[in-house]
Every structure is written in C-alpha cells, then in structure tokens.
C-alpha cells in the first residue's frame, strides 16, 4: 500500500473582497463580498515508502496548500488523503508525531536558546525516550557537523548553519516521512550542496520518504527521480525528471568558437540563437540532427577553436513548460 495517498483533493478558500480606501473598509464591515478561490481543483497522486518526490509549480499553484493538508494543518474541501494509514487532519497529533517538516522560510527552533537546549525540548515534545534521543541526536550532529554550534543561541547562527540545525530538529524523532518546503531558499552555494547531500543520504541510506517543494531547479535536478508539476490547482504532469526535460524541450545547444569571424550557418533543424564576433550559439534538436553529425559538418567547413554541447538550462525548461500549460501566475 502507498505511504502517501492523495485522491481528488480540492480546496476552495473564500476570500473577502474589499474596495480600496476608508469607505471600502467601512462598507466591508457591513456587507462582505466573497470570492471563491480554488487553490486545489482535484489533485491525485501516491507515493511509495522511500520515494523522493519534488513538487514544483509557479507561485500560487497550490503547492503549499497541498503540503499543509498533508501535514494536518488544513482540512480539504473535498477529496481523500491518507499518510501512513492516518488521515492527517482527522488525527493531527498522532500524524505529526510521525512526520518531519522543514520550512526554509520559518524556524522551528527557539531564537534565544542554545541549539542543544532546543533539541532537548523537542525530544520532550515528541516523547522520544532519552536513550534513543541521545543516539539519534549524536548521529544527526555528526552527519550535519553541528558539534561546534550546539552551545550557541540560534539567533547567532548564519542561515546556512541554522538550516542544518533545522534539519536535525525535524528529524530527532526519527520520522519516516519528511516534508521539505523550499529548504534551500536564500542559502549560499556550499550550504545548498550540503543540504542536498544530506537529503540524498537520508533518502538513500535511511529510506526516508521525502516530499520536496522548491523553486530551485538544481534541487530537483540533484535530488528527485520523480517530479510533479502543479499549476492552477491541478497536476500538470507526474513523471520521471529526465522525461520531463525531453518531453518539453528536446532542444540542445551547441557553442562554437571559430578561429576567424563567425560564419553564417544554414542547415535544416539548426537555428542561430546568438552570435558575437568569433562565436555562435546554435539550437538543434538531436532527433533531426545528431550532435556528432552537426559538429562534423561544422568542423569540415570552418576552422574551429573550441566547441561544446549544452542542455537547455532547467529553469528554461520549466518556464517553457509553464507557458505551454498557461500556468504562470496571473
């Protein structure tokens, strides 16, 4: 049976509309006009234990609403959710004891307390037995290199250090399911890499099921085998990451530095994306013309200094995908 099961999930908010200005505020007190917002309009998917799924979509697509329902904070308007056999919003306390959640934008540690004190308090909140807690804590401290930070108040940590502490805090009770909501937002490059490496180990070595939402496509590229793209409250695609790329954007790029001035290139299936004095960036589709054939054709006619093939940047793939589905934020 699936560890996470989501069927026909819908969530409709009623939002009070208010005319601007003082008179609008006053009339809003007397008679409110409501507008319905369909944050989710029938989302279904399931997740097996040990999977790592990235959940992506433009702002306002319904990602956070889904994560909030899955973590028991929100009750859906209709549809069915089961996580490890429990309905999150019916059985909040039992459910949240079994999951871990990390918000990139929000801390769950105590600002003025040393990191270690916060961990101790969480162990009591989650009713972790002392012996198990010490073992788990020591394991996480060494994996996340937290030893030098334990005595420092959280407010003195850098963002990167704090995120490492947040991960430990979310995992002290040894949850088998982890929800990550934009875990790398605002981090510098080494910290991002450290977070990705940690999540990968957690998933591969300890079998923790991970559901990740992010806007950083490098997170997705580095971590997820499976990607769900959500837009306008619906699942636009649910596929392996590789096929998302090839399905949307088969196109590749060829960068060529010529020995002399860049020539005109006219070949079927090849377009010039940009040119400068001695170089060209060409776009081609490997199905029409394979890379070796294209390179051979160019080097046969022109003197070339350097040449390399690129895939389209993942951001561009996703932006194109949103456009195809008219899913960009209004």
């Amino acid at each position: 049976m699936s560890q996470i099961l989501v069927e026909a999930l819908a969530k409709t908010y009623r939002v009070a509309e208010r005319a601007p200005g003082l008179s609008g505020a006053l009339s809003g007190l007397v008679r409110r006009r409501w507008r319905e917002v369909h944050a989710l309009a029938g989302v279904s998917f399931s997740l097996e234990a040990g999977e790592l799924l990235a959940f992506i979509g433009p702002n306002g697509a319904g990602k956070s609403t889904t994560v909030k329902i899955l973590s028991g904070i929100l009750r859906p308007t209709s549809g069915r959710v089961e996580v490890g056999g429990l309905v999150p919003y019916e059985d909040r306390i039992r459910h949240v004891a079994r999951i871990g959640v990390v918000f990139g934008q929000r801390s769950q540690l105590w600002w003025d307390l040393p990191v270690l004190d916060g961990f101790d308090l969480l162990a009591d909140i989650y009713r972790v037995e002392p012996a198990r807690y010490r073992k788990r804590r020591d394991e996480l401290v060494s994996m996340l290199r937290l030893e030098p930070l334990l005595a420092q108040p959280v407010r003195q940590l850098s963002l990167g250090q704090r995120m490492r502490a947040e991960f430990a805090a979310a995992l002290l009770h040894d949850p088998q399911i982890l929800f990550l909501d934009e875990p790398t937002i605002g981090l510098d490059a080494p910290s991002k890499l450290a977070v990705r490496e940690f999540v990968r180990r957690l998933n591969r070595e300890q079998g923790v099921t991970v559901l990740l939402t992010t806007h950083d496509m490098h997170d997705v590229e580095a971590l997820a085998e499976r990607v769900i793209v959500i837009g306008h409250g619906r699942v636009l695609t649910d596929s392996p990451f590789a096929s998302l790329r090839s399905g949307v954007f088969a196109e590749r790029r060829l960068h060529v530095d010529f020995a002399g001035p860049a020539p005109e290139i006219t070949m079927p299936g090849v377009t010039v994306r940009s040119r400068d004095e001695g170089s060209l960036e060409l776009a081609f589709n490997p199905a029409d013309i394979p890379a070796p054939q294209l390179i051979a054709a160019i080097t046969a006619q022109h003197a070339v200094d350097d040449i390399h093939v690129d895939e389209v940047a993942i951001e561009e793939v996703i932006a194109r995908f949103y456009d195809l589905h008219d899913a960009r934020e209004a």
């Binding site: 609403t65 904070i73 929100l74 919003y89 918000f103 929000r106 769950q108 600002w111 003025d112």
Partner: protein
C-alpha cells in the same frame, strides 16, 4: 513526558531565554512595579478625601486591590502566548509550526513565554497586602489563607479564560484586539473596588457575565468575615470562585471552535 512536566520544561526554557538579557529583565520588573503602583495611590487619594466609600475603609479596599492584582499578575505571567496569538502566531503563520508538533496547541501557547516582568505588579500587590493586613481587621488563619488561595486560583482561571477568548477572536479577525483589554485591565480596575459601590447593571455584569466579583469581591467578604451588603447568602460565598473555572471551560469550548475554523480556512 506528560503535559504538566512538559509545561515545566517550557517554563524553564523561557526563563533561560530571558536570563540572556538579565539587566533588561530586571529593569522591566522594576518598571512594571512602578507603573502599576500608581493605581494604589489613586485608591488612597480617593479614600483619604472621603474617609470611607460605600461603607468600606481604605484598609479593606486595599485587600480587594491586593488580591485582584496578585491574581491578575499570575494570569498575565502565564498567558503571553494567548495575548500575542493574533499578531505573533496567526498573522505570521507561526501557528502552523505549533500545529506541526504532536501536542495540544493550547499547551504550547501557554508555555510560549513566562514573562518575568509581570512579577513587578505582583511585588507591589504583595506590599499592598501587607499594608491591608496592618490597617484592616483581617485574621490570617488556615481558613482565611485557604480562602485567599482558592480565590486566587479561581481568579487566575477567569483571567486566563479572558485571554483565551481574546486569542480565539484572532481565528475570525486579524483586526486589533484592544477590545479584550477592556476586560483584562479594565476588569482589574473595576475589581479593585468593592462591588457594592457600582450600579446594579454593572454589578450583574461582574457577577454573571464576566464573573470577576466571584473571584475577588465575594471571597474577600469571607476573609473579612463580613456579610454581603447586597444580601448574597453567606453559605454561597466560599463557592463563588468556581465561576472562574466555569468561565475558563467555556472559553476553551470557543477555542476549539476556532481551531476547527482555522483548519478549514488556514488564516
């Protein structure tokens, strides 16, 4: 770990956090003490001008004052999380984090912050209690001390109930909730004076609506061994603090309705 022990751990954590800023904490305590002491001067000015009000002398009025202020300072110490619930939890989204922990939300809010600065009000109230004991015919024995503690317990429950109601309103509106201060600070002001000096409708409000009289006025009558000038039966007076617990229970029922609403609206 059971809820009470966990609450103890929250309290210790909060005290350790405040101990990070010892000077500021001390100054806040002294500031509270000075600011709230102004009120007893007002009561004194009134009684020194008129001698007695509604049949009460200053020493007796000082007992009303001391008891309600001790009660409120304790409640104020315990309910910071509810007081700032709308601004610091609902509006900022921090309440989601509370819901992600496998404990009752009310327990986590109660343990959110134990404000030492509130001891300032308690310090001056205890000083006034000493003055009242010297001026008024109060005999502290096991029975009257027990009555005082019972009244304080019921009163803390009632003020906590008001704060829980204030927090509950935040589920429906994020507008300013200053209106609740009418009940808390205004309630303390009202209960500092004996009930019989007030108009009938206001006495009824303080007895049956927000039952401040039940946790302050009637118990003090028992301690002073005075019959109620308004004619409430003597046997009933020692039971009146129960009203505080009833009020708190009703407040938590409203709170649960608010929680259910939050789960369906998310804001």
């Amino acid at each position: 770990m059971n809820a009470l022990a966990l609450y103890g751990r929250y309290v210790v954590a909060s005290l350790r956090a405040q101990a990070q800023y010892p000077t500021a904490t001390l100054m806040l305590i002294l500031g509270q003490c000075a600011a709230t002491s102004i009120e007893i001067l007002g009561v004194y000015a009134l009684f020194s001008r008129f001698g007695s009000v509604g049949g009460w002398k200053f020493g007796e009025a000082a007992l009303f004052y001391a008891l309600v202020n001790i009660t409120f300072s304790l409640a104020d110490l315990l309910t910071r999380g509810f007081e700032v619930f709308g601004t610091d939890f609902v509006r900022t989204g921090a309440f989601d984090r509370v819901l992600l922990r496998p404990r009752a939300a009310a327990l986590q809010l109660a343990g959110y912050e134990v404000r030492l600065s509130r001891l300032g009000r308690m310090m001056q109230a205890v000083a006034v209690l000493v003055i009242a004991t010297r001026l008024a015919p109060i005999h502290w024995d096991a029975a009257t001390v027990a009555m005082a503690l019972w009244a304080i317990t019921g009163g803390v429950a009632m003020f906590c109930g008001i704060l829980v109601l204030q927090a509950t309103m935040a589920f429906w509106t994020v507008e300013s909730l200053e209106v609740a201060n009418v009940l808390t600070y205004g309630g303390v002001q009202a209960a500092q004076y004996p009930l019989n000096i007030y108009a009938t409708w206001f006495r009824r409000l303080l007895t049956f609506g927000v039952p401040l009289a039940c946790v302050a006025y009637y118990p003090v009558l028992v301690i002073l061994n005075r019959p109620d000038p308004l004619g409430a039966p003597d046997w009933l007076l020692p039971f009146t603090p129960l009203a505080g617990f009833a009020f708190l229970t009703l407040s938590f029922l409203a709170w649960r309705a608010g929680m259910a609403r939050y789960a369906s609206t998310g804001s």
